[in-house]
Amino acid sequence: SKSELKEAEKFSIKEVRIVTRNIGLIDPRNIDEYIARDGYFALSKALQMKPEEVINEVKKSGLRGRGGAGFPTGLKWEFTAKANAEQKYIVCNADEGEPGTFKDRLIMEGDPHTVIEAMIIAGYAVGATKGYIYIRGEYYNSVENLKKAIKDAYEYGFLGENILGSGFDFDLTVRLGAGAYVCGEETALLESIEGKSGRPRLKPPYPPQSGLFGKPTVINNVETLANVPQIILNGAEWFKNIGTPNSPGTKVFCLAGDINKRGMVELPMGVTVRQVLYGFGGGIKGDKGLKMIQTGGLAGTFIGPDKLDAPLDYDSMKNYGVSLGSGVILAIDDTHCAVDIALNVMEFFRHESCGKCTPCREGTRIACDILEKMTKFQATEEDLKYLEQIAYVTADASFCGLGQSINVPLLSLINNFKNEFEAHVKDKTCSAG
């Protein structure tokens, strides 16, 4: 609406482009254009540093995992560097299955060399000579651009033997996923690279101890890696000046749903949901009202308009009950039914449950059954109570992060829209129609 658009101006906020700095400005299939924008300069600089110095710079920068969990990247590298083994690996998690997330695709499509350069630097830092990019099979353009970029990087001597005369060797291959969300979970992903069904492994041991083929492995998200060349080039202090003390740097947000402007935007950590939604997204489309926002991804929280001023960083879950996750901001207007959305979310989890453990396999099925009954006004108040219990039990008893997180979206929907759920089971009505 008009008033909201005016509102938008008030919250307009400037983009800070680190991981998206080249996107749209260079031809991703032309390595010379990447080099002309300081591409592979960070690699050259890193190769003149000691591996420990590279790790220290990343540690000092405070960079944390953008795959969602926010684990300190430098620490992960250090564990892997210290592990004793002949062979180590660098793996890029480019599976990006989280509904609402499309940033990794756009980074790989628009600037594939940044990811490649980061992986070579990681390899040098931890002593790994082989890397894999595990990417969703459906991301055709990203796959094409990555393959072309790898080929060119070999030709220019950034990959292969004796890189830039340093004596360091590094090989890189692309591996395609075959359509399983759970393969984004790092240990399931490693199983999949090994040619098996992607069922998660028990953690610990974490990949830095025992990863791909049982060897020490760094596994990082695409966006995490894309920060690395700029950190090496500009230094940890520069990076720490952006964002918040606990979550330095930027985050790429993916905006979708009922807003005027959808798309991807890179903003400093600590921006508020309102700034993202109105400053970049231009507010709610048409003359509808904002009902809720899904933040962080499917495993994230649904929040009401009351939480618009929560700052987004790795502490926002703890402090405000708002997930940062993979950076999803999905705006949902008041024409949508909370129960229908809950069913859509749970159907996804049921479908993607790998079936390895009973709580997740059965819990997601039961939750879907109840929600489906609810949308048909056939569920009882008992069913609603049972649904909440199922959410707790499944989260508590599941083997991996998939089953462990279903309570977050489900309970945030139920708690925020209790009246609506109750109307479905008591009065058998739906206010959204």
């Binding site: 509904p99 969703r136 459906e138 040619g195 979708a256 159907e347």
Partner: protein, 158 residues
């Protein structure tokens, strides 16, 4: 059962140097070639790689991109991720049923089209979205979907 020469399968196996850990890539190429994973090919690969066929079936049924039944020449994937769901992905499913007569999980009798409902395709800014073979279509509605399908139907005739 049709008789196969397996020269194509051999070619794929050779490309990946008969390496066990390349099973998923091998199956992806088999799926592309035959539009499904034929049972006799599973046995053939099992023998060639020294993997029990049961294990290969396990992998083939785990990943959504593999199918033991033939898929259509055009595999339609309708996104039902939350963003697309909100923008009416189910109306696209309905339009497809009206145009070519199949529901999710089904194939047309002439093996021209198959339809599956999937999670997010990473094109949420274009919701509702679908993918047909390697092409992404966004900002769809029922009419647009029908038009795309009609064009694909005609394509064979010329």
């Amino acid at each position: 059962m049709l008789t196969r020469t397996y020269s194509k399968v051999e070619e794929i196996l050779k490309k990946y140097e008969y390496r066990k850990e390349m099973l998923i890539k091998i199956l992806l190429e088999v799926q592309k070639e035959y539009r499904h994973i034929p049972r006799d090919v599973v046995n053939y690969i099992g023998t060639a790689l020294g993997i029990p066929p049961a294990k290969i079936y396990g992998v083939a049924t785990f990943y959504a991109q593999f199918s033991l039944k033939p898929k259509g020449e055009y595999t339609i994937l309708i996104c039902d991720g939350t963003a697309c769901h909100m923008e009416g992905s189910m109306s696209l499913v309905k339009a497809i049923e009206e145009e070519v007569g199949i529901k999710p999980g089904e194939v047309t009798p002439d093996l021209k089209f198959s339809l599956d409902k999937v999670g997010c395709l990473g094109a949420c800014a274009l919701a509702p979205a679908m993918v047909i073979n390697d092409e992404v279509y966004g900002k769809l509605d029922g009419e647009k979907v029908k038009e795309i399908l009609r064009k694909l139907k005609e394509r064979k005739e010329d």
